[in-house]
Each structure stands twice: as structure tokens, then as C-alpha cells.
Amino acid sequence: MITFEDVSFRYEEDGPAALAGVDLHIPEGELCLVAGHTGTGKSTLLGAVNGLVPRFTGGHLRGRVTVAGHGTESRPPQEFAHLVGRVGQDPLAGFVTDNVEEELAYGMEQLAVRPEVMRKRVEETLDLLGIADLRGRALRSLSGGQQQRVAIGSVLTTHPSVLVLDEPTSALDPTAAEDVLSAVLRLVHDLGVTVLIAEHRMERVLQYADRLLHLPGDGSVRDGTPAELMPDCAVAPPVVQLGRAAGWSPLPLSVRDARRRAAGLRQQLADRTPGPPHPVDTDTDTDTGPGAGTADAGGSQRTPLGEPLLTARSITVTYGSTVAVRRVDLRLAAGEVVALMGRNGSGKSSLLWAVQGSGPRRSGTVESAGGDPGDLPAAEARALVGLVPQTAADLLYLQTVDEECAQADAESAVAKGSCRALLDELAPGIDGASHPRDLSEGQQLALVLAIQLTAAPRVMLLDEPTRGLDYAAKRRFGAIVRRLAADGRSVVIATHDVEFVAAVADRVVVMADGEIVADGATPDVVCSSPAFAPQVAKVLSPLPWLTPDQVARALAHAGAEPAAALPYEGAPR
């Protein structure tokens, strides 16, 4: 169906190769998962399928890409519309019309499909994706998951034989992501579409994938079945990491596989107490090790909490007549990492903005060492409570990283170089002369975080910082967050990422409909419901283990199994 014949691609004549000598043949009807770190050429590979690369991106492509026998070198992407359907990360950015039905019909209109056929296909597609009740709705009023399903539907109506999905769930909450992925899986089974999908929630797709394309980062593509490639793949879901730590072979690809294999491991771990779930700096680590023989379930032997830094009382945020946050109390202590979870629109962001004082707050008070940040001018409020917004790049507007750092020093009235020093601590090795917008997502996040930390707030609020970060970047970011907490700050992270929460947070607060529905230590909250449980917890339940790190360390201490190669160390930087 799709062939790559010795394809090489570079964005600049003398720049590094994004793809180098790629030879691929993807037969019809396969579900093909594309994996690799950010910046290894996943999007380039996917874009090349219908010719968007290089026609829309610029760059030099050598070799030949064909879909169903048609080469992309002679035809523009338009001429592939009936063959290749493409769905991107942000569905809203790709919508042409403004209501669901017309969006579904748009592609067919372009292909001059007869009106009667169009009408029928729109109805079929509405049913296929379970969005029939949304048919007349305005696209902007839909939730992210609904939008993404409409986007998939809108390319399906032209009956393409290839579906290209570039991280379709990266902007969605877990439930919405499940919806979208299950819709995709159904398409593969029911319609026999060839699907090429880049997906950071690999664990959801891995077990169904017929083929894995792994991009190690040097422009090459490793091609094989998931079982063949997983043992030494740099990106791996927690369940695979667990399998590696336990030395299983073949590696489990799904929770179900692992669960069936894990009886022995559970027995082995039953009388141990899990160590801290987050990766520990080995030099400063005085690991509690196997701990006392008593398995006190959910007992956390984390650092005792410091003094309270911030107390918010009955915070209420309203927009017009909608109540976004309803009388919420929140207490933050020094040295604590709190995860704020809940579906999109449950009031997480509103709560963070209201606590910081920059967002609207209808009523309620915030007590902190320097007063209520809501009553202070912006410059003083940010010295008490810092906030990194969801789209962190909104804060960057200068030409170079150095200028941004100097500006941050001036804003916070601190000695020159403070911001740069913080940045080097968070993410060493960023070139000061580079443009902030050329940095990777992780580096941008670190820069914004450094800018906000320059004002030396003791409370740091992070709104969805992990979105767009791959496994390795997330891991590094988790370490940064732990370090902030170790310095006596209090960190709040609003996130959907269960695995990240399991590895980093001390406490989890779950919001729904503007109210707090659960608030407790991470293992208690996270293990009590399957939707929030990280994979390792699902495999080892009822034992309160959360991350592969914990298990690997415990096994290493016991000297039992060879703790295999710790998966992440091999990750290319």
C-alpha cells in the first residue's frame, strides 16, 4: 500500500538528515505504530506519505514515496485526498467549516461525490464514530475528544485506503483519548483501513499493532513487529519497562499480558514496601530499600510535610452563569508535589489561575506568607505564587534565550544572570543565542519555568506541563519537579498523565465539575480506581507499587532477578 524507496530527507541542504535511506513496504490493512522521541522525524515520516513533506514544509527529499502506486513526486497532496486521510494533533487547527455535518462533508465536496452518496456517507460516519447526536453542533463547542473524532470522521467520509494519524490524542484527557483510540481500532478491524499512527500513549496501541516503526533519531527507521523491537526500543510504555525490570521474555505488550505473567513477581514483592516512586538521584539517595517486612498498604514513607505555604479557602470562579470552580479549599505545604487531575473542563486551570491571582475569582481567600496574591499587583503576586500556563510559549516574545533571561532578571529585580543560572540548573546546555521558539517543547517549558522561578515564588503552579513531552523529556521534567520540592517549594501540577503523577506526585487532588472529589496520598487515590491507576499498579494490584522504577530498585536490592538494563538510561538525549 505504502512504499518508501531509499527515502532521505533533510530540511536544510547541509543540515542533519531527518530521514536517511528509509526503505519501507507497508501492506494493505496493517496497523502500523510509529514510535520515537520528539524530533526524531515521526511527523516527517507521516507527512511524506501524502506529499505534505516536502511540499508544505520545504526541504530536500530524495527517493520515492508511493501510495497505491502513485508517487508523491509528481502529484500534489490534493490528488491524494481520496487515498490518504490525515489527522493532526490539534483537530481545531484543521477544521475548515464550523459545524459537524458540513465538516464531514467537506472532503467529499472537494472530490465531487454525488449529493445522495454524500448524504448517506455522512450518516454512516456519524454512526461509525458514535457522534450522531453532535451532527448540527458548532465545532468549537465540542470537547477535545469529540473534536478529534469529528476530525477522523471528516477524513473517513472520502473512503481513503490509508489513514495517517499524527499523535491524535496528545491534547486529550485519558477518557477522551480512549474514545478516540478505540474508534481508530474499530476502523482497522471493520474497514480494513491501513493505519499509520504516531502515538505517545503507546501502551494503548502497541498490543494491536501489526508493525512497529521505531525512529532511533539518526534518520533510520527500524521496522518489525512490536515483540521483535520492544526489548531494545528507547521509548517504551511502563508495562514494557516492568517486563524488562523483571527480566521477562518475550516482553508483555499489554497490561493483560503482564498481569498473567506477574503472579511470581507479585509473590516476590508481597512482603516488601515500595520505595519512593520517583527516580532518585543516586548520589544523594539514601534508599529506604526493601524496608521493614510489614507491607502497610498505601503507607508512604515520603519526607514529612513542611510548614503550610498557602491556604485557599472556598475559592469560587464563575464565567457568566457557569460555575467553573465551586467553593474549593486547597492547602499546600512546603516540599510537597500535588497533582491536580480531572477531565477537561473540570475547573483545574480556573482554580490555578484564581489561586495565583491573575485569573478571575468570584469569592474566597488565599492566605500565603505575603498576603493574598489576588489583592497584590501582578509583580508582587508572582513573587508569592508562580504559574506556568498551559501554552507556556505565550510568555516568550523576545529574539533570543539570553534576552528572555535578561528581561526576566529585570522583571524580578534580581541580580543579572539569576535566570540563566536557574535555566542551566533545570536544563543545561541551551544555547543562549538560539530563538526561544526553536527550542524543543521540553526546553521551552524549562525556560518559562526558569523565568517564573526567577521571582523566587515558594509556590509553583504548572498547568498541563507534560503535554507534548515524550517519555524521556517527561522523566527529566519529573526530576526537575522533585528538585523544586526538595528545595522547600510547593508544586502543583495540573495534568492528565497518570504515569507522570504516579512517579512524581506526593498527593493527588481530583476535581470534577468544579469541586474536589478526592484528595489524598498518591497511592491511595491512584490505586483506588482503575481509570486513574498507572499500568504497574494494574499489573501488581492489590500491591501498592506504582512505577517500574520502584520495582526495578526493589529487585536490584534483593539481588534476585537481574534487574535488566534500566530502560531509560539508553535513551538518546
Binding site: 490534493q78 485526498a81 484543521g94 475548515v96 472537494q110 449529493p115 448524504r119 508572582r382 510568555l395 521558539r437
Partner: protein, 415 residues
């Protein structure tokens, strides 16, 4: 072309012979023809009674037949604009137009002007003729504006763009995209401004402007690139690369034709213009433009999803508008006195039968067209007439509310 019919299917053209007709939106073109007919009729008279009747007819039809989409609420803005026009017209007559007419109502202190401005008088005597003249003029213009407003609140602007001929498809597509992108731009400005507070920076001054514009522009550029890529991969502009000569011919024909139409319209509407500038130029221009659109439309291979069709109700609506305009033209030839009531000597405006009938023809769509579909179904038991008010009742709701459930499925009978 968008509206390709399938003659093989029986009964497609006349599916609504039941009464009352099923609720559905009317073809936007029909509303525009109707409203333009009323506006043309208004342009042929200064009789305040007739103008008031036209206003009443337009307003009544709007109230009966508008939906509850955001644009449907724009009618009151046109009414306000009309009132403003009248006030301005009268005020100008008071300020500048002194000294015409014998029936002096009151005298304002005159402001002496230098020799250079001879012939212009500020204030001074204010005569009834002068005020009435301003009022008649203003009322005529206001009525025309309100008629356009009626079309705007009755017809879905996006469906109107969809109904554009194939050759103008690209124009329509870009307007639709612009309409969609504008709110996104506003949203991103708001987001960035709010984010700036987090750096302790204010929202004013040159530096702030830069801090807002750069992230917003970056956002907008990224989004437009993403949109272009998305549109291309979905087949937009598939056959657009026809041959450049056809494109050129199309463009020239359409533009020349439209210029002809404009000139012709001017000729028809301005009674003092030479006859050659009127109907012949209008028809000639129309023909040339049509030829251009047909040539352009031929190269377009594209279909429309659920195109609006011309059915009896549409023909009736357009016909009502055209009848009003045509009857008004006829009377203008036979009995012009009643259309332009005399100012000197002052006389009461009078009505004669034909113009009244002409204007009344314009109200027919209020009764004979199907109701527009409403997003929130009126509670059971509420009579149909009561349902009309639900549109106005929703007016004070937050702007997000109509956006959230604004576009409800058109309850068109499935053929």
C-alpha cells in the same frame, strides 16, 4: 456547480404541498431577492406612509421568520442605524439648509460666515419644508438600510456563501475561513494578555504591544499553515490548476460584467440618468457576468452537501419582493404624485391603491413560507405562534449560548 439536481428522482422539486409546511430554512438567495425588492421599492418613493408600511412589512416578516442563530439578532442594530440616519439627515437640514420654504417654524441665531463660504448658511430660520424634506430623505435611506438588515437577519450568511456559483467558490471559502479564524484570534489575544500578567508585565505600552503581538502572530501563522496543510490533504483546490487562460477569461468576464451590472443598476435607480445607462447596460452586464461564471464553473469539479434548493416557498418569497418592486415602478410611470408628496406647497401625503397593494405583497412570506427550525424546541403545548417569541426571548442570553447550540440540525425532510 453546487445545485445539481437529479431528475430521475420523482417529486423532488415539489415535496412540500402539505400545510402547514415543515420547518426548514429558506434559501438565503430568496430572502435577499425579497429584501432587495423591498429596498428598490423604497428607493422609488419618499412618501412617509408608504415607507412606514415597507418598514412594518420588513419588521413583521423578520419577527415571524427569523431563526435563533446569532445573526438573526442583528435586526435591531439595523433599526438603530436607520433611526440614526434620519436624525442625522434632519439635523443637517437644520444646520446647513436654512432659508428654504415659507413655513418658518422657529429661528435659530445665525452664525455669520466669511465671504469665501458664501452660499452656505449656518442655522438661521428653520422651515417646516426643510425639516420634512430631510425627514423624507432620511426615512427613504433608513428604509433601504433596514431592508438589507432584514435580509441579513433572515438569511444564514454562510449558506449564502455556499450558494455562490462555482467560479466564486474560492472567494467564498476564504471568507468562511476568515469568519472562523477571527474568533480564534480574539481568543489568543485574550490568552496572551492574561499570560503576560504572570510575568508581572502590564497590558499597556509599546513593550506590551510587542509582548502580545509576537506570540499571537506566531500562533496565527502556525494555525494558518496547519489549516492550509489540512485543506490540501483533504482535496481543496484539486482541479484548481486548470489552465491559466481559462482563469484569466473567467476573471475578465466576471469583472467586466459586474461593472456593467453596477452601472446598469445606477441607471435604473436614478430616474435622471440617460435611458441607455439603465436596463440595457444592466442586462448586458448581467449576461457577461453570467457567461464568466459559467466558463469558470465548467472547470470546477465539486459538489455541494445538502444544497439549498429553490422550491415553491423560495419562488414565492423572491416573487413577493420582485412584485413589490415592479408594481412600484409601474405606479411611478402612471401616478408619480403620491410617491413624492409635494413639499411646496406643503401637503399631506396620500396613498393610492396600487402602491399599497405593492407593499402588501411583500408581507406574504410571513405567512406562506415554512417556519425556520429552532434549536430549542418550544415546550410541548406551546402554540406555534408562541414559538416565534422564543427567538427574541433568547436575545439577552450570553453570547456563548447561541454558539453552543446555535446550529441545530436543519429539520429538512429527508428526500
Amino acid at each position: 456547480m453546487s445545485g445539481d439536481r437529479n431528475p430521475a428522482r420523482p417529486g423532488r422539486g415539489w415535496p412540500e404541498l402539505t400545510w402547514p409546511p415543515l420547518a426548514r430554512p429558506l434559501h438565503p438567495g430568496a430572502w435577499w431577492l425579497w429584501a432587495l425588492g423591498l429596498a428598490v421599492a423604497a428607493s422609488r418613493t419618499t412618501n412617509p406612509l408608504l415607507l412606514a408600511m415597507i418598514l412594518a412589512v420588513a419588521a413583521y416578516v423578520v419577527v415571524r421568520r427569523r431563526g435563533d442563530a446569532p445573526w438573526a439578532l442583528s435586526f435591531r442594530m439595523y433599526l438603530a442605524l436607520g433611526a440614526f440616519i434620519i436624525v442625522m439627515r434632519v439635523a443637517f437640514r437644520v444646520v446647513f439648509g436654512g432659508g428654504q420654504g415659507d413655513t418658518v417654524l422657529f429661528t435659530l441665531p445665525e452664525i455669520p460666515l466669511p465671504e469665501a463660504a458664501a452660499g452656505i448658511r449656518l442655522f438661521g430660520e428653520v422651515a417646516a419644508e426643510q425639516l420634512l424634506g430631510g425627514f423624507y430623505d432620511g426615512l427613504r435611506l433608513a428604509t433601504m438600510v433596514v431592508c438589507v438588515g432584514a435580509a441579513n437577519s433572515l438569511a444564514d450568511p454562510k449558506r449564502m456563501l455556499k450558494a455562490l456559483p462555482g467560479a466564486l467558490y474560492e472567494v467564498g471559502a476564504s471568507v468562511v475561513v476568515a469568519l472562523t479564524v477571527a474568533p480564534q484570534l480574539v481568543e489568543s489575544v485574550r490568552r496572551v494578555r492574561r499570560a503576560r500578567r504572570l510575568r508581572g508585565a502590564g497590558g499597556k505600552g509599546r513593550r506590551a504591544l510587542r509582548g502580545i503581538i509576537i506570540p499571537v502572530l506566531e500562533d496565527a501563522l502556525n494555525r494558518s499553515l496547519a489549516l492550509a496543510a489540512a485543506m490540501a490533504s483533504r482535496g481543496y483546490g484539486r482541479t484548481g490548476g486548470a489552465d491559466p487562460r481559462t482563469r484569466l477569461i473567467t476573471g475578465v468576464l466576471v469583472i467586466v460584467g459586474l461593472v456593467g451590472v453596477c452601472g446598469g443598476l445606477y441607471g435604473v435607480l436614478d430616474a435622471a440618468a440617460p435611458a441607455l445607462l439603465g436596463a440595457p447596460l444592466l442586462l448586458g452586464g448581467g449576461a457577461v457576468a453570467l457567461a464568466g461564471l459559467l466558463v469558470g464553473g465548467r472547470r470546477v469539479r465539486r459538489t455541494g452537501y445538502r444544497p439549498d434548493r429553490w422550491r415553491p416557498a423560495e419562488l414565492l418569497t423572491a416573487g413577493a419582493g420582485v412584485t413589490t418592486a415592479a408594481l412600484m415602478f409601474l405606479t411611478a410611470g402612471v401616478d408619480p404624485d403620491n410617491l413624492y408628496p409635494s413639499l411646496s406647497p406643503l401637503s399631506w401625503p396620500e396613498l393610492s391603491l396600487v402602491p399599497v397593494l405593492a407593499v402588501l405583497a411583500g408581507v406574504l412570506p410571513a405567512f406562506l413560507t415554512p417556519e425556520p427550525p429552532r434549536s430549542a424546541a418550544p415546550p410541548a403545548g406551546v402554540p406555534r405562534a408562541g414559538g416565534v417569541e422564543s427567538g427574541t426571548g433568547a436575545a439577552p442570553a450570553a453570547p456563548s449560548a447561541p454558539a453552543a447550540n446555535g446550529a441545530e440540525p436543519r429539520k429538512e425532510p429527508v428526500p
